[in-house]
Symmetry: C2
Subunit: 204 residues, 2 copies
């Protein structure tokens, strides 16, 4: 029972969400007010407070939704591939799926990444990476004791790098295909940034 949500709620939430995104694109999250949102959404201002505490709460909930989506993409794949986790085939397909998701939801992603949604998402991804790489270490080809640098920095490095590239891609209008982006990203990660820059690893 009660798995269905009242259509009125769905409608207003959708309208609010859309208004939020367009306003973030237009004037940035800082500059927008609850009044702005409800005006653009053609919603009574009081109605907003029936669903959200304030604009920050709205942002948080939007963020959580996106975070859940991302998490699901990661889980869906890591679940399948107990065996195929070798030789970089897995990460490539993960990353490609993620890029496809980002492209499909480009406006929301752009809006969120322009706020501190960045931080929140990155923190969550780092947690997920840690969990899946080190704890239930199905990825048998990575072992914490083999690391040549502290694990927390390695994870931060990779997570932040990937987000940076995603952001650049979104800002540039998603010109490359998700598959191309996945290739680029895994290429840099697997071969190393300097190798990707056309240099054979120098001795330093």
């Amino acid at each position: 029972m009660s798995e269905t949500v009242d259509r009125r709620i769905t409608r207003t939430k959708r309208a609010i969400r859309a208004a939020l995104v367009s306003l973030i694109e237009e004037k940035g999250f800082d500059a927008l007010s609850v009044k702005d949102i409800t005006a653009r959404a053609n919603i009574n201002r009081g109605t907003f407070y029936l669903h959200y505490k304030d604009k920050f709460d709205l942002l948080d909930q939007t963020l959580e939704e996106v975070a859940r989506d991302i998490e699901n993409i990661l889980l869906e794949i890591t679940a399948l591939s107990g065996i195929d986790v070798v030789k970089g085939k897995l990460p490539l397909s993960i990353v490609e799926k993620l890029f496809a998701y980002f492209k499909a939801n480009a406006p929301v992603m752009q809006a969120l990444l322009a706020t501190k949604g960045n931080h929140a998402l990155q923190a969550q991804i780092k947690k997920t990476m840690w969990h899946h790489v080190f704890e239930k270490n199905r990825a048998t080809f990575i072992k914490k004791e083999n690391l040549l640098v502290p694990p927390e920095y390695l994870i931060s490095y990779i997570a932040a790098a990937h987000f940076g590239v995603v952001q650049e891609w979104l800002d540039g209008g998603c010109r490359e295909t998700p598959a191309e982006m996945a290739r680029i990203l895994t290429y840099i990660t697997f071969r190393g940034p300097l190798f990707a820059a056309g240099i054979s690893s120098p001795n330093f």
Copy 2:
């Protein structure tokens, strides 16, 4: 003439800056008001508006100052080393200096990186990297035509990755020394994240 700044201005600006940082640490930038700042700084609220348009302007100016510092560290070194730009000696010393700066200004950096100062700084760094790596390409060992991935993504990757590691380091209380951090960071960048993870580059 007039190279000296009125001491009253210096004092109030310093107080405002300090109040800003402590308040960001305490409740975050979103939640703080101009009233909060002036109260903590023991400053009349009207005085604030003599120097800043609003709290965002204050943040921007603080940000610009830090950005200038970073820029100067980068320039100071790249200026010296026309010859020694080979074999990774240069980047290591750059990065170490930067970490030292971050540690010395940890509270401000923490506060700024918790806001969208992150974005601003990252954008500026990317611009600087682009300029120094590709345009006046003194770094003769990197050539745009040799790149195996698009330059904008490579730069985004590296810049974001470095910021991610800096953030992790600051959040963890700067336990490693700047030298250690510089080693870790250049190690991952030169050898590649997966190599740093203890894997010999897999074929994918």
